[in-house]
Amino acid sequence: MAAQSAGGGGRPTVRTLATLLGPAYVWLLLTIFLPLSAMLYFSFLSDVPVGAREAELTLENYAAFFERDFYRSLMLRSFQLGAVVTGLCLLIGFPCAYILAKSIKGRAREALFLLVILPFWTNALVRVFSWTMVLRGNGVLERAVNAVFPEVGPLGLMFTYPAIVVGLVHSYLPYMILTCYVSLQAIDDDVIDAARALGAGWGTILRRLVLPLAAPGMIAGAVLIFVPVIGSFMEPRILGGTQGTFIGTVIEDQFTAVFNWPLGAALSFLMLGFVLALFALAAPAFRRLDG
């Protein structure tokens, strides 16, 4: 086939693709792939090869995970946190996205969209600290509740696991709403009407039509939320106090409290390995969900 010009109709040429995708991939290569490859290499070393330090190849960083119980228990705890936050985002985000996609039209929809995306406009650290102002003792929430129900007293919400969950759900909920919205608004209204005309009630329509058709959006949102949450350390530290120790904070410590990049890298790649294993196990279920 003769090559067509990029402006004309038809498939883009290899040259056009390279020009358009090239800068993005060069950027990804320099800023993500190369540093990550370096980290993977470090994880098999005994020390960081900087300056006069000597490093030799070793598996002891990975072995450390299996030797010490608390690494494993914290890894499990982090995965549980990921599941809880993702589950809550699904429960809250899906109905939100449904109403946004199906029930609200015109100006109101744009306004609500803006509100959904609002957390993205604020700095993540500022968001988390504003939650401390709400949740802490004598904070906004406690004072409001005690103003109405004076006998309640201290709520004890700060420095607890629920506080961490609240902060994380707040930060990551927009992802779920947006991905579900995209899937839901692609569902033809006529399809729902057809199901109704065939006698289906709302429960049946939800179960057999809406959820399967929105599944891609829900899965995308779940991945976008689960992966960052299991590695999170900011919200756990700030909101969790003594309950805020997770594999993410342990990894962070390897870089900020000691100069043990190899161990930090090894724990990170172990986490990545578990995530990939989880996705591999869940893949058949996802395929079935697709109807």
């Binding site: 033809d188 399809v191 065939l198």
Partner: protein, 352 residues
């Protein structure tokens, strides 16, 4: 199967009056077309009959009982959408069987009835395909099978053929009619294509701006349009208007037309419609047969389309169109002065 009756139905959406006091009866087992330009309210009426909306005023009855209080899920109507609205995440068989599953029909019977429905629409063996693997015509037939298999009282079709190309549409029209006759179900379908309405239906209802203009069998509607709009929307027509003078419509300069029936008594002016195929082009000074209407005109264009000849002419009061079958006679050429003749029975008085 049941008859459907619509009585005095009105519906308003915001500032728009979509339907205004429409009354129609759809006989049991008949094939009925709702015809009209876009925005005339035909789809709104169809959706009211289906139950997606409730009328602001008036009543809707199916099989003798009032249904305007019943939601669509319980009206047991079969609906087919312009976009087919097949469920993308299910196979053809699951699509067709959806309504049966909702009604808790047991699996063996469900399988049998789905198979019968697919046979009826000539799609046997495609039960395991997905909608995206089907052609437009196949999807349309799946939608039809899905609507019919639940044995609804009424079949409602919303512009079912408008998404198909011409050749497919014609063959589907035949199919649709065949299936409808075989099943014997009361069918109401919405279309803006007057040819389709004429060829398929037992009765047609013409709607315009939310009101019923005229309703009746196709032939009657065609030969006896009630209004100028009906005359020009359903088929083509030449319109003439003028003051009434002694039972004839005067067109000035001594020319006058004899209508098929008496014009509105007491009306000072009247309008008549004449179908182009009812007219004949003859040589300029030909004496018309007794009683026939005639007009002098000049040929502007003639268009030869194989089996017919279309003349576009200009006469003193405007333009004219004439269809003639090519019978090997001499053809009038542009610029030629001719005389157009036709019977008075074909001069139909219409409301303007």
């Amino acid at each position: 199967m049941a008859a459907v009756s619509v009585s005095g139905v009105s519906k308003r959406f915001g500032p728009v009056q979509a339907l205004d006091g429409v009354s129609l009866d759809f006989a049991n087992g008949g094939f009925f077309a709702l015809l009209g330009p876009s925005g005339c309210g035909k789809t709104t009426l169809l959706r009211l009959i289906a139950g997606f909306d409730a009328p602001d005023a008036g009543q809707i009855g199916i099989g003798g009982e009032r249904v305007d209080g019943t939601p669509v899920e319980r009206r047991n109507v079969g609906m087919m959408f312009q976009s087919y609205a097949l469920f993308p995440n299910m196979t053809v068989a699951d699509n067709v069987g959806f309504g049966l599953r909702v009604r808790s029909v047991p699996w063996p019977e469900r399988r049998r009835r789905v198979g019968e429905a697919l046979d009826l629409v000539h799609l046997s063996g495609l039960g395991d395909r997905r909608p995206h693997q089907l052609s437009g015509g196949q999807r349309q037939r799946v939608a039809l099978a899905r609507a019919i298999v639940i044995a609804p009282r009424v079949l409602l079709l919303d512009e079912p053929l408008s998404a198909l190309d011409k050749a497919l549409r014609v063959s589907m029209q035949v199919e649709l009619r065949r299936i409808q006759r075989e099943v014997g179900i009361t069918t109401i379908f919405v279309t803006h294509d007057q040819e389709e309405a004429l060829s398929l239906s037992d009765r047609i209802g013409i709607l315009r701006d939310g009101r019923l203009v005229q309703e009746g069998p196709p032939r009657a509607l065609y030969e006896r349009p009630a209004t100028a709009f009906a005359a020009t929307f359903l088929g083509e027509a030449n319109l003439f208007a003028g003051p009434v003078d002694g039972g004839r419509i005067s067109l000035g300069d001594g020319a006058a037309l004899c209508p098929s029936g008496p014009p509105d008594p007491g009306a000072a002016t009247a309008t008549v419609a004449v179908r182009p195929e009812k007219m004949r082009v003859t040589a300029a000074a030909t004496v018309p047969e007794t009683g026939w209407n005639w007009l002098d005109a000049v040929v502007e264009q003639h268009i030869f389309t194989g089996s017919s000849l279309t003349y576009l002419l200009a006469w003193r009061g405007g333009s004219l169109k004439v269809f003639e079958q090519t019978l090997g006679e001499a053809v009038a050429v542009p610029g030629e002065a001719v005389r157009v003749v036709w019977r008075p029975e074909h001069t139909v008085p219409v409301m303007p």
